[in-house]
Amino acid sequence: MTQTRHRVRVSAVARLGPSIREIHLEPLEGDHLPAFSPGSHVVMELPLGEHVLRNAYSLTSSPFERSRYAIAVRRQPDSRGGSRWIHDELVPGRQLRIEAPNNYFPIRAPADGAPLLLIAGGIGITPFMSLLRARRPDSGPMSLHYAFRDRVDTAYLAELKRLLGSDLHTYESTAGERLDPASLLAAQHLGTQVAVCGPAAMIEAVRAKAAALGWPEQRVLYERFSAPAGGTPFRVRLQRSGRSIAVSSEETLLEALERAQVPVRSLCRAGVCGECRTDLLGGEAEHQDLFLSDQEKTAQCAVMPCVSRACAGGELLLDL
């Protein structure tokens, strides 16, 4: 089954920094877009030349705003062209298609009134914006620790200062400031809920420290700021159709299958939802997903094509 799609028009492109743009989208039909919860993202279809790239972006607008959505995009030098296209080609008036919002990073204040600790690295700030922009005086205690390279090219700093006041803590690495997850977590109240979004190393450091401090696993919510796209090229063979497909370094296995018109169901495109699970009949996969259990990964019995690849130099045999 495919996701409901919505046609939208770009109503504004705002410059948040030399390499960050905020894009505003308004509905083409009707006067409102679907409601969503903080932490949600939309998959946007980007018409790049002859193929369509489907990229997921966190919604940064307030969930209470129904007449438009906002997303923020950083130009990625090594990207597959999506961010470059958005920065160079996307202008107000342009029409696009998006899928209805999904949420695999449902950030919320704990029901027991415990504090909410948000940790963002760089453009990993985006999933937090919808929560912070809807923050009300009774939203409960929360603080944001925001690490970035340099102040000039960082999204939403002034706005966050206004929204959070002294609950905002910033770390500018070019000025020698470092966010140290270990000391930050050690200083928290018992029962604190942590949500972290940023580079893999930052997430790992937070998770490892939380585990070492004996925090319950559920109190650490995390999202990689982008699904690992690309890597070394490899081939897949399809058992049922007998086909063989090359996956380039620029694309995911799921994208390669879609390009070859092999239908695979997908939803999150980030290795979380389980929708694209495909039986693996041969070869060794580098899994990279958050869905399969450790046993399943060791048994090499399934892959999640949206994130999994073949181990170096290998080939995968799929039940497709």
Binding site: T4, P34, A35, F36, S37, N103, Y104, A111, C273, G274
Partner: protein, 337 residues
């Protein structure tokens, strides 16, 4: 156009009846001739026209009867509707979802007019015309969740999602098959499933929980659940046990066809967009054995399922005293010809 029956009863004189078309569309829950436990959850994205799966929320000929039955139960026991304070946003999500879908799917009966946050809701069968402000509790005569679910068939629960688990944090439960909201309120997913035999060992709940926590907006799921009920008695709650517990001893070969009903729950799971809670409708369908065997193959299949039901489940579903009488009565439909 959907025709609604005049009010019938689910108590005392039990005037509840299924029309031939209600019998035909009954969600018969057995895919094979044998009982098997599985996580039978599937996407709920429409079904054949006229079937109970056609729309997200099925409304049928029994609408007025079920609305009246709910009002009677709530009058006797207001604790059948409870919503914990942190579910306020989820309650408004629920109201919006029901109003949107009822008015889209049954426009002859319901209309929703929206101008910004100024809404007007028209429910023709119940002769309601209500103006209110979306999000403003004081603009409705009842709290939003109770307001809308009193106009909807079936029971409704709201499951809060936090810490990777689901919590039963609100609901209106006036027609349950042997469970109580008052008892389950605030419980986690595994806690409220505590009494279900076998499934824990099979790891069924771990898999189900993972799946449920990942259900997304606009992509609902559904499953069927079934049991057997004596008389078309909707309210089989522990609170009401005196009205149904003893009836199990009353089944004889002469009354089994009329009195014994297959009771099927169509359970939905819908992500609520603003609160990220899950809405869990439990829509109950009742069919007497004599109506059930009018459909080709159903009598035989029900008999085979009952014959292969594990003893723990016979006991859990409360069938011990009369399952033999049902199996015997169904025997003529289970002959090879």
């Amino acid at each position: 156009m959907l025709q609604l029956n005049p009010v019938q009863t689910f108590r005392d004189d039990f005037t509840y009846r299924n029309s031939p078309s209600a019998i035909q569309r009954f969600p018969f829950p057995f895919p094979q001739d044998e009982y098997r436990y599985s996580v039978n959850i599937e996407p709920h994205n429409g079904g054949p026209a006229g079937s109970v799966y056609e729309h997200w929320f099925d409304i049928d000929e029994h609408y007025l009867s079920e609305i009246r039955e709910r009002a009677i139960v709530l009058k006797q026991d207001p604790a059948r509707c409870q919503v914990r304070p942190h579910m306020r946003l989820a309650a408004w999500d629920t109201l919006e979802m029901l109003m949107e879908h009822f008015s889209q799917d049954y426009p002859e009966h319901f209309t929703l007019i929206r101008q910004g946050n100024d809404w007007m809701w028209i429910n023709r069968p119940l002769e309601i015309e209500q103006r209110f402000r979306f999000g403003d509790d004081d603009s409705l005569p009842l709290a939003p969740f109770e307001y809308i679910t009193r106009q909807a068939q079936g029971d409704w629960a709201m499951l809060d999602q936090r810490d990777g688990d689901l919590f039963m944090d609100g609901g209106i439960i006036t027609g349950p098959a042997d469970w109580s909201l008052d008892f389950d309120l605030g419980m986690s997913f595994k806690e409220w499933h505590g009494p279900v035999p076998l499934a824990h060992e099979l790891g069924v709940f771990d898999r189900a929980l993972k799946y449920l926590c990942n259900i997304q907006v606009d992509r609902p799921a559904r499953r069927l659940n079934w049991t057997i009920s004596i008389n078309p008695l909707m309210d089989q709650s522990p609170e009401n046990y005196h009205a149904w517990g003893a009836s199990r001893a009353t089944i004889t070969p002469d009354n089994v066809a009329r009195k014994v009903h297959l009771r099927v729950e169509l359970q939905g799971l819908h992500r609520l967009p603003r609160s990220h809670a899950l809405l869990f409708p439990i829509r109950t369908y009742l069919i007497s054995l004599q109506d059930l065997v009018s459909q080709p193959g159903w009598g035989k299949r029900l008999r085979r399922v009952l014959m292969t039901l594990p003893p723990e489940l016979v006991d859990y579903k409360g069938l011990t005293r009369y399952i033999g009488t049902i199996i015997d009565w169904l025997e003529p439909w289970d002959r090879d010809d």
